[in-house]
């Protein structure tokens, strides 16, 4: 299929995704809902931090490590679960998955497009959380000291990696309706636990660290922290202090490409099995 057709699918799906995301009777309340939950989750960590450490100022690098990780993890839940939820919603709620499936567009591209709305909302939540952190909690931050090229490159690769992960899970969702939320919860929990989302992976047992180092999210979060933190010392916390930014960027690139390839293979085989087993228009109402 021509790139032009994929782009059209992407644009159309993004439009549809945004219509669904923003189609709320009271948008202000919806936005509040969208932000309060992730910010409350971050605040739990902040309170835990303050209980143990008493203040932010004494160890600014550690606080930034925690806060930036927790904030950028919002992308993981929004993007990864946003994509899988499209399968669930289109199949069971709107019952349009079958129509989209038999149309000539690529379901894979359609799902990426539908996730755009989620990415935008997540980006907004991240900005709100960062602003709150800087203004209220004293999170060290300086726009002039941000390594913008590294940050932007990291975000592009990081989002690509999250989209790939989301698509792989969407493939699995094609096969199971009942467990799709639990699978999301499980994968989200594993990523949170093993990728140094809020604590350095060095506190994990050796096998946990080894798994964490194979997942691109670990490198993505490390680079986000390094590019945004204005001072020095944050690179010493995550267990990747032996590697330069460039090397980690390379790790991120390689692991993201591998993840994307794996996700494509997984999605295609799940798609095939779903057709074999007649799962594409399954409605559970369990």
């Amino acid at each position: 299929m021509a790139v032009k057709d994929h782009l059209r699918t992407l644009r159309l799906a993004a439009w549809l995704g945004w219509q669904i995301e923003s189609n709320w009777a009271r948008p202000l309340i919806f936005l509040t809902y969208s932000f309060i939950r992730p910010i409350a989750a971050t605040l739990i960590l902040v309170i835990m931090y303050l209980i143990v450490k008493q203040d932010v100022a004494s160890e600014p690098a550690l606080f930034s490590y925690v806060y930036l990780g927790a904030t950028f993890y919002m992308f993981v839940s929004s993007v990864v679960f946003g994509i899988t939820y499209v399968i669930h919603a289109d199949r069971e709620h709107y019952q349009t998955l079958r129509n989209i499936y038999i149309s000539p567009i690529s379901l894979y591209v359609y799902l990426i497009g539908r996730a755009t709305g989620k990415v935008l909302l997540a980006a907004l939540a991240v900005i709100i959380s960062l602003t709150f952190g800087i203004l209220v909690l004293g999170l060290p931050f300086d726009l002039l000291l941000v390594d913008w090229p590294l940050f932007l490159l990291t975000m592009v690769l990081g989002l690509a990696c999250l989209i790939a992960l989301g698509l792989a899970l969407a493939g699995i969702s094609l096969l199971t309706a009942k467990h799709s939320t639990s699978i999301n919860e499980g994968v989200g929990g594993l990523v949170y636990l093993l990728c140094g989302a809020v604590f350095p992976i060095t506190v994990l047992p050796a096998w946990g660290q080894a798994i964490g180092l194979t997942i691109p999210v670990t490198y993505w979060l490390e680079l986000v922290r390094r590019s945004l933190y204005p001072g020095e010392g944050i690179e010493l916390l995550g267990g990747l202090q032996d590697f330069t930014d460039g090397t980690i960027l390379l790790f991120l690139l390689v692991s993201t490409v591998a993840f994307a390839a794996l996700s494509l293979v997984l999605f295609r085989s799940a798609d095939r099995v779903a057709r074999q087993r007649g799962k594409l228009d399954m409605i559970t109402t369990y």
């Binding site: 409350a40 739990i44 309170i47 303050l50 209980i51 450490k53 499980g186 949170y192 809020v198 604590f199």
Partner: protein, 270 residues
């Protein structure tokens, strides 16, 4: 048949349906036992990375276990009648003669059972894996506080359930809204007193705050920095339980009548 017998049968049948439905497929063991452990593990490693005292790891295990009940109240109680309407069951419930309280009590009982399995496994596995130390010096008091907490928390679930009956998609959002923020203000992972007296006092309006605080005191002693004496927290829970049940009854009647007037008991996709 007396109304009591009818309501007892109805409540038991609903509890049976919920328990059997939730445990019929073996995969529930994986999802209900292993998934909550991931969250508990993350918070424990977080405390370790910060260099917190081991008592905090115990708070996380206890809080992690109690999330099972809170999640069940939000999703299995509060949002349940809205979901029942979506799949067409609500109108059948409403046409039936049993008391709506019996229906909700049945849902609560079934949910309590399935959540208890999730909570207990989190507690046992969390304690074993992370070598958490807790001592039960007064098992009777602990059992009493736990029971009162459950009565109050599920009573609150019944009130929410009746309120959510009238709200469409917002019900889902409100449940979402009450997940992490309640973990935060109710002190699921740390002594609630740390939030300051003002916030803690407000948070006691949510029964799980009082229940957690009292159980922390009974399991971890002085390290738990209790907010109020256990006996007082237990008494407050008892009052809350009674108040929520009365409120739920009143609210269900009002909401049903409003639903009948506005024709909203059978509407879907609002």
């Amino acid at each position: 048949m007396s109304d009591w017998a009818l309501n007892l049968r109805a409540g038991m049948a609903r509890a049976y349906a919920r328990t059997v439905g939730a445990t019929r497929e073996p995969s529930w063991v994986v999802f209900d036992v292993l998934l909550p452990l991931l969250g508990v593990a993350a918070y424990i490693y977080y405390y370790r990375a910060l260099g917190a005292s081991p008592a905090f790891e115990g708070f996380v295990v206890l809080g992690g276990a109690m999330t099972a009940f809170w999640l069940n109240v939000l999703w299995g109680m509060a949002a349940q009648l809205y979901w029942e309407r979506e799949v067409g069951n609500l109108q059948l419930f409403m046409v039936a003669p049993m008391s709506r309280m019996a229906l909700l009590a049945g849902m609560a009982l079934g949910g309590l059972f399935t959540s208890a399995v999730r909570a207990l496994s989190t507690l046992v596995l969390g304690t074993l894996i992370f070598q958490v130390h807790m001592s039960v010096e007064d098992p009777l008091a602990l059992a009493a506080v736990f029971s009162l907490t459950m009565l109050a928390v599920y009573g609150m679930g019944m009130v929410l359930s009746s309120l959510f009956l009238m709200y469409g998609r917002d019900a889902w959002n409100i449940s979402n809204l009450m997940q992490e923020p309640v973990y935060l203000v109710s002190g699921f992972y740390f002594p609630v007193r740390e939030l300051g007296l003002g916030v803690s006092a407000l948070a006691t309006l949510i029964p799980v705050t009082l229940g957690l605080d009292a159980m922390r005191q009974l399991l971890f002693g002085a390290a738990s920095q209790g907010l109020l004496p256990v006996w007082l927290e237990a008494s407050m829970l008892a009052v809350q339980a009674a108040a929520f049940f009365l409120l739920a009854r009143f609210s269900l009647d009002r909401m049903e009548q409003r639903g009948r007037r506005e024709g909203r008991l059978t509407l879907r996709w609002q």
